[in-house]
Symmetry: C2
Subunit: 370 residues, 2 copies
């Protein structure tokens, strides 16, 4: 039986979303169990909690604190050691659950997961990976989405290896293609980090560690040119949020145009089934549930504003990852690519020691240890 | 009379787009003149060329070469000194036109414009600025969009000052608001470059050089949170192209859903006026025409795949910029902010000299000089 630990308090809405989603998840997965983590007094205020409490495949673990969306990483990590988020991740560490899911504060979740579970051998920095729908009818997996704002070339290589393991574990593609996000298709374009990353990815492709397609541009994410798109967390986060903003603007425009007057409202009624099919096709809720990769345990992040349908998808994703041994697959891939990863790091360290520049130097963001 | 030099050969389509667009532009602007630059033998093959040639406010300047979309910057700059792109920019340098417009290769255009016109006093790197529609019913000006892949904090400050001049010159907002693109609203998030840029922008705001709103995220571009969004060229280019990709995917989905069967096709007919109004509202062609800012002359870049309607918009934009003295406005703003810009550069150089890091160092991309 696969057990998923749920941070029942996390997200903009909290238990009103996590409780019904948990019930629906248990209904849909007869061989899954849930460990619901939260403040019993708060949970008890919700009608369906009793049902969940009585469920034979659900146990409740008490946590006395909650990490809020505004809490700094320091507060979440050092001052709230008994938060629902932390206790949920502890379940994974202690082997009481195969994966943890939270809709809480992303920075706090990554910091807690990293501190509690530690990174995998061979991984410097965990990454956040999510799926976005593409015009090819599938989904493109993009990473990193914000865990790392300053990435070196070898970090991008690590992301590519981890992303390949994720897609291989969750689809029917054993050797998914990897694109390196750049601002032009020619290898010559882009920053020095990107050029170096391109070389590393080509080497990895030659040694069979991954299937490197080459450079891709922003539009290729939605074209579905490759199964995976690798980028640093700053760029990935901006691309993701810009896309969310555009989708929301377009949705708003469609609504406004169809509610303009009585004629457009009639048109809306006639077009309703088509608009509904369209809406379903681009429904971002279906893609909810980002994987935190590179840790010694499975953790999934739901969008903070997820509704019960979307949160259930994140639970499904965590369940599938556990069932398909994602952790073991990432570990194997990283181990296989280890000689290359080590060589890349040594080469980059040597480069950096020789580099002379008047440009301001980026300092990697480090997670404080409590 | 304001004269615009048109690279008639540039773009994916070339004269079949630039000739009709030029005619339409002249019709719409009774006090404008055009300098059409291209290969007369190629232009003559187009039906409307004779009309343009006979137009009292259009002159033709011959150029023997064409920069292709695949030409490297080196080829465009060193081997094709008589290209339509170069000759069009020369018109601006020689005072024969107030602005140049090209739909050709962006990298080549920027390199040629920079080499021929030189950068303005106080500007290290020119930037590319474009408008994107926003949910607030207006447009957000975003820069840089790809001219600079590795930006330091003082470059971002220069972009903010130039972008403010552009928006002030082309709208009714004398003190447009500026947002710094980041991955979180708190000042603490983002890379060291972004943090430093935030400090510089706040100082500039305090000294009245611009109206700094604070950090914004990717979705704020389409929300219309600020009039201007400043970012480095890599991030800006990815955000722009990802948005183009998403818009194109959504357009494809709408089309596919409405052509599914006879019932959805009937729905499409009923909904046609609404869909058309919607399409018009998000029509990216209306926003065509990116400004190359920071040069000692006005140059505008049209999208390579622009049709005649879109190319005409780019001509309009160049015309408006010339009419509203954009060049002088940018120069004034930069001069006013000069003490701050110089101080920022000195501070960053000192920081860099003191910095110690094992991270690979980004090298600024430099345009080769022929």
């Amino acid at each position: 039986m696969i057990r998923i630990a749920v941070d029942a308090m996390g997200g903009d809405i909290g238990p009103a979303v996590t409780i019904p989603a948990s019930l629906a998840f248990l209904r849909g997965h007869p061989s899954a169990a849930l460990v619901l983590v939260g403040q019993p007094s708060v949970l008890a205020a919700h009608a369906q909690y009793a049902q969940l409490q009585a469920h034979p495949r659900c146990s409740v673990v008490e946590a006395s604190e909650v990490v809020t969306m505004d809490d700094s990483i320091e507060i979440a990590l050092r001052r709230k050691k008994n938060s629902s988020m932390r206790v949920a991740v502890n379940q994974v560490k202690d082997g009481l659950a195969e994966a943890a899911v939270s809709a809480g504060n992303t920075g706090a979740l990554m910091a807690i997961a990293r501190y509690v579970l530690k990174t995998m051998e061979g991984i410097d920095r965990p990454a956040i990976a999510t799926q976005l729908p593409n015009a090819a009818g599938g989904a493109t997996t993009v990473l990193d989405l914000g865990a790392n704002v300053d990435c070196s070339a070898d970090h991008l290589l690590q992301f590519a290896v981890m992303g390949s393991a994720l897609v291989a574990a969750s689809s029917d593609r054993p050797t998914p293609s990897v694109g390196l996000l750049n601002i032009g298709e020619e290898a010559i374009k882009g920053s020095e980090v990107i050029k170096k990353a391109g070389e590393l990815l080509r080497s990895a492709s030659n040694s069979g560690d991954l299937n490197f397609y080459g450079n891709v541009e922003g539009n290729d994410i939605f074209k579905g040119t490759t199964d995976i798109v690798v980028c640093d967390g700053f760029v990935g986060n901006v691309a993701l949020k810009a896309s969310e903003g555009l989708a929301s603007m377009i949705g708003g425009f469609i609504k406004a145009e169809f509610s303009r007057n009585i004629f457009t409202k009639i048109a809306a009624i006639v077009a309703y089934p088509v608009l509904k099919a369209f809406k379903n096709r681009v429904d971002h809720r279906r893609y909810n549930g980002a994987a935190l990769l590179g840790l010694r345990g499975l953790v999934f992040k739901s969008h903070g504003s997820a509704d019960a349908f979307a949160f259930e998808r994140a639970l499904n994703r965590a369940y599938d990852a556990a069932r398909n041994n994602l952790l073991e697959r990432v570990r194997e891939r990283i181990a296989h690519a280890a000689p290359l990863l080590v060589a890349a790091q040594l080469a980059l360290t040597a480069d950096a020691a020789n580099a002379v520049s008047l440009m301001p130097v980026d300092v990697p963001v480090s997670v404080p240890t409590p």
